[in-house]
Symmetry: C2
Subunit: 250 residues, 2 copies
Amino acid sequence: MLEYVTDLARPNALDERPVTTLDAPACRCGLGAGCDRRALTQAGIAWTHDQRRARQTIYRRGDVTENIIVICSGWACRYNQLSDGRRQILSILLPGDIVAGAALFSPVLDFSVQALTAVRYGEIARGQLRERLSPPAFLDLVSQLLVAGQAEADAQLFDLGRRLADERVAALVLRLRERLLARGEVQDGAEGGSFAFPLRQQQVADIVGLTPEHVSRVVTQMRRSRLMDIADGFLTIHDLPALKRLGDLR
Amino acid sequence: MLEYVTDLARPNALDERPVTTLDAPACRCGLGAGCDRRALTQAGIAWTHDQRRARQTIYRRGDVTENIIVICSGWACRYNQLSDGRRQILSILLPGDIVAGAALFSPVLDFSVQALTAVRYGEIARGQLRERLSPPAFLDLVSQLLVAGQAEADAQLFDLGRRLADERVAALVLRLRERLLARGEVQDGAEGGSFAFPLRQQQVADIVGLTPEHVSRVVTQMRRSRLMDIADGFLTIHDLPALKRLGDLR
DNA sequence: CGCCGGTTTGAGAAACATCAACCTGTGTGG
DNA sequence: CCACACAGGTTGATGTTTCTCAAACCGGCG
């Protein structure tokens, strides 16, 4: 397997320094009104917004945190990596997603987290959160996010276990499209709309369990057959029905 | 792909009839003291114990349920299946596991559930559960189970995306061993102990994303190299360190 | 005994990985 | 401005893993 050369190996003290924003802009994280710095501060809950640039590491497997982390803007991912370089992205984190539900109970993370684009994220001490937020609301919120994560994982499991390369890519695109639709981040274009797609083919490969070369072949093939196109950080769907025939769970 | 011939296609009215046990025996489901028929009954919470024989279907994808389902004894699995027969098992359900955290919010199931051995399971109306159980305890319980499920899914995702056939099988065995260890269901034998292993190779294949033929080759190979052995419904580990070298996440 | 579900084995095909070259746009230093 | 490096993507030739299809095997059971 490839020894993926990433910047994981060169932590840069300056780059990794947390930058606390004093005025948190409007935040579409799932905590809803909860993710309002002023409101939380008034409630006596410590809340910090940090940010990372694209490709920077946010957490490493084994790191310890007492915080619940929520993505506020940008894309990130959870991944695991073997010592021989094989890497698998476990999930794509979009604004509103909880990075680690696991952190609710065990402070030590079982995966690494990396920014895919520039990312802003918030951290709340879990003890505080659990004490202060009214329990039923908190239950619904967290459980709902956990359940959504499980559903995503289920779909991904099926893809990796039982689908061919082109079907996997199609399914990935469709699921991303669904999630972005729900956030109103899909522009409707010719056939199936288009949306910002910051992933490099290497990263797509790490999601769908293929090599970057093979992803390139699949994407090129899809471009030629006018299924969809990825260019300039945007993904445009040209034939949504055909894509669904490939990648939908039926 | 194969058209897997399962008994999904021949529902048997007699076999599928729920059998409510009047005296629920000791139950190691995660609800702990909660899963005590008398206690729950006294608290006014409706609770039923049903059972299924091996290979029977408990739920089908798309079924609607207002209940939270917990496995009390036996093995079951969640799976999804394409119309062309491709099937992927999403998770193995052991006693104490919640079948569908999803049912907490959406009554319609996004997967099917099948008994792998004879299975006893309990159902509690979710509304009742959420109202009656004291919220903090409920939060911890459910979230903890959800988080554990996510961790399992993460490991499985890595295996399916980035591991070779023998590594996948080794990893599956190791993870099952861990879960059974926690339940005290591993007898320590010669090297790595042994435990009941009711899975057919077809089912193993549906977990690790391979064909049954290839699973047979891998298992036979492992038997010959004295890594482990599966026989008579029991799995015996002969060389735990070697197995871990193959399948552990490092 | 014959049947049946499950497993094993083999030969050939398909999907995907590997390795290597090349291409293109972009930034960088002289 | 040019030379150059570099990251990301594309393409091709070849190798490996796994699948497919088919047959044989094996223990249990009517």
